[in-house]
Symmetry: C2
């Protein structure tokens, strides 16, 4: 029922291949023929069947995006929506569509990847999932299909990826606390299985070392990436290390819990304890006190990873495979100069 290239060809009195060339803007076609064909195309309201085109050209002009379902976090942190917005913008700019899949289980994720890649529905794939170890990792390092990841992969698999420079971000945050005169600086990390946690811990150590403050592992405590996790970690920290005057917390939501704990123990933030969070979640500007935190620019992570994957698809010979997105320490009201005792 739809009008095809043959209908156009017939009405224009030319061969289908000629119509195809007009559509492709082939410069060989004469002006006269081009106009005639173009006229018939609008007359018949012709639109090329992209599926047929994909089949012969082996190019889908589509990028697959796999992201976690992450129900709860969505409310506290628009990280994934923001990255997605960036991906969408950059993809559209280069004429790519987005095939989106949200995976709940690792099983679903693998199935989705298989569908997209083996089904030839996409030219490349962007992964917003951090758990790329195990079976998924095996696949990722063995395939030469264009794949890009938001977040530095645990090993160099030759994949495309983009991430914040978390070492540097954490270094700058710690440096800021040091500049305020703090020396007993605690650190609440997320699970050290994540590269991001390890990187931020490294930055913390770097800054301490640079200032000649000895690294004390008793000041570092792991917590879960949740308000409760921060609340409990802070409790442990204040119990064993009551002398601390500042804490670096690797996630804003954990920081909310940490602040809550501090206040419950009668330690005012920032008067008694300075706190810095990470990720600049929307709430961080509304809590009391407004939280000093590190902005990580998720939208730019999205645009950049898309640029990288498109380059990988269209110019695989180029060696550019990864990039860092800058961060910004947002000074708000949760830190202040250390008190002189």
């Amino acid at each position: 029922v739809a009008v095809t290239i043959k209908d156009v060809a017939k009405l224009a009195g030319v061969n289908p291949s000629t119509v195809s060339r007009v559509i492709a803007n082939n410069p060989l076609i004469s002006q006269k023929t081009r106009e005639k064909v173009l006229k018939v195309m609008t007359e018949l309201d012709y639109h090329p069947n992209l599926v047929a085109r994909n089949l012969v050209s082996r190019i889908t002009q589509t990028i697959g995006v796999l992201m976690p379902q992450s129900a709860e976090n969505l409310f506290l942190n628009p990280f994934f929506p923001e990255v997605l917005r960036g991906i969408s913008t950059a993809a559209r700019r280069d004429g790519y569509d987005i095939l989106l899949a949200m995976g709940e289980t690792e099983e679903e994720e693998k199935e989705t990847i298989s569908r997209m890649v083996h089904g030839r529905r996409v030219d490349g794939l962007i992964l917003l999932i951090s758990r790329v170890e195990n079976q998924l990792g095996d696949y990722l390092k063995s395939t030469d299909f264009p794949i890009a990841i938001v977040g530095k992969p645990p090993h160099d698999w030759g994949l495309c990826w983009v991430d914040n420079d978390n070492v540097d971000a954490s270094y700058k945050a710690t440096q800021y606390l040091l500049k305020l005169g703090h020396r007993a600086i605690g650190c609440i990390t997320g699970s050290l299985e994540f590269v991001v946690s390890l990187d931020r811990l490294a930055g913390y150590k770097n800054a301490l070392a640079e200032s000649g403050v000895e690294y004390d592992r008793r000041l570092v405590i792991q917590g879960e990436f949740s308000q409760k996790g921060g609340y409990e970690a802070m409790n442990a920290l204040l119990t064993t290390e009551p002398a601390i005057t500042a804490v670096l917390v690797f996630d804003d939501v954990m920081a909310f819990g940490a602040i809550h704990q501090a206040h419950e123990q009668g330690r005012n933030v920032p008067a008694d304890i300075s706190i810095i969070g990470f990720n600049n979640t929307p709430l961080s500007n509304f809590v009391s006190p407004p939280l000093t935190t590190v902005d990580i620019f998720p939208y730019r992570l999205g645009t950049r990873v898309t640029e990288l994957i498109i380059q990988r698809i269209e110019n695989p010979e180029k060696e550019e495979r990864f990039d860092y997105i800058g961060t910004n320490l947002l000074l708000r009201q949760s830190c202040q100069q250390v008190k002189i005792k």
Copy 2:
């Protein structure tokens, strides 16, 4: 380079059509042949080319989703991400993929619709954009392509759609204020060009009428859907109608501004003025006082609209075209019994 149905056929010693039938689970195929083919398929790691399949079957098993870019709102309101999550879940459940597009301008939106629909890339389309008037509306009412909208369309175009029952939601909220003894109840609406605003206004009127409270249009004021809009509307309202003891605000973010204004004028919420918002944005539980508001269940809007579009695609003879998603009045701390003068 990829293995095709022909490779499988050759190695299994059968015709490609037989392989195709095995894949399609055609019951005519003998058990013996089936097993032989299946074995070769795994041996060669064969995956059907979905693009080729789409071309001949004219079925893409893909639903297009068009949503606004809506940069700012994302931070205050995860409405769209939540709807998208619902769409993703329901689509996957029925074996559909999602082709996602975010439009910034109406031009982009029209272009995207054209690409998806005329390019035969999707079997149906879900629109998360509310501005469906003008040119887009002309298209929507004329096409018989399966299209579904989140949010009741301004006219009955025979489209699929899903929405909250905003008349009822607003009715229940107003009824609650009446039950608390309020009689002078103000109303801050969004632009009355939106169906949602009109519906909520209708619910407000219904509740008043039922309780024998005369509707006074001076108590109703339009504001912009922003904190500033609510702030200014509240100012106007308190200036001309200082006797009001409660206000229904058609959006939480506007309500934040309204509360701010009230407090600036020395009117305590809820002691002097009760306030109800709409949409249960995440912040509404964190502001002071925690806002009584109407939960609209965006995730369910997403799953339901997807069920409707899939039914429209697969069983167009069924007449079910729209549905309402229930709402829930969340009682928090921004309302209280009216004071006796």
